[in-house]
Amino acid sequence: MGILPTTPRVFIQTADFDLSTEVSILRDQNAGVGAVCSFVGTVRDRTAGLAGSISSMELEHYPGMTEKSIEVMIDAAHQRFDILGARVIHRVGLLQPLDQIVLVAVTSAHRGESFQACEFLMDYLKTQAPFWKKEQTPEGARWVDARVSDDAALAKWGLLCSNTDA
């Protein structure tokens, strides 16, 4: 059974987010928090290093499963690391270069646990949360290919992953 969250931890939304506000909510005036680690993913304007090759990006998800799968990941992070809280926001819909896409923020008493849990959650999310990116390029729209390197990133936590397997 998962750890019952007292406040919502996962938000899938079209709206942008503010890092300071989210960190403040996550810290929740808890003086036992000694470390906050956050990761923000942003939209690039390029693939293969070619600036301007992506004009926009559309994010699709699986309503219901996406939220549930990330809740499971946060439960797993709590079991694996001595963290105090975690908060994940993932945007969907149409995004432009420079836009923020994803936030993972974690609190713990000491830095090591929140650094690790933050990376663990991102590695997990990349390969196990049902989102799909479609890029708009000068040649037309194309679905982004999953990366084998993302499967390898999850494997380093001892978790088998076959997101890219045929």
Binding site: M65, Q128, A129, P130, F131, W143, A166
Partner: protein, 83 residues
């Protein structure tokens, strides 16, 4: 039995529907995939063996060996690319 099947991303676009109710006697997700492939056309192309197709049963990531039950929600989709 009837199951609810959902499609996402490139598979949704190829099949031209985000979901449908399917009558099946398949006892696993793999056999349901075979049944859909047998319909030919876009189903056969997008769900073909050799394509990277992920699947979920009742909104949990699953594989082809997982047992199917009446009323289940099954989803077929390409490898995920969030984050």
């Amino acid at each position: 039995m009837k199951v609810s099947v959902k499609y996402f991303a490139g598979i949704r676009e190829a099949i031209g529907a985000s979901g449908e109710s399917v009558e099946t006697s398949a006892i696993t997700l793999g056999l349901l995939r075979d049944q859909l492939i047998a319909q030919g056309g876009a189903y056969a192309e997008s769900l073909a063996r050799g394509n990277a197709v992920r699947m979920a049963l009742n909104q949990v990531m699953s594989d082809e060996t997982v047992a199917l039950m009446a009323g289940a929600e099954v989803a077929f989709f390409p490898p995920v690319t969030g984050g």
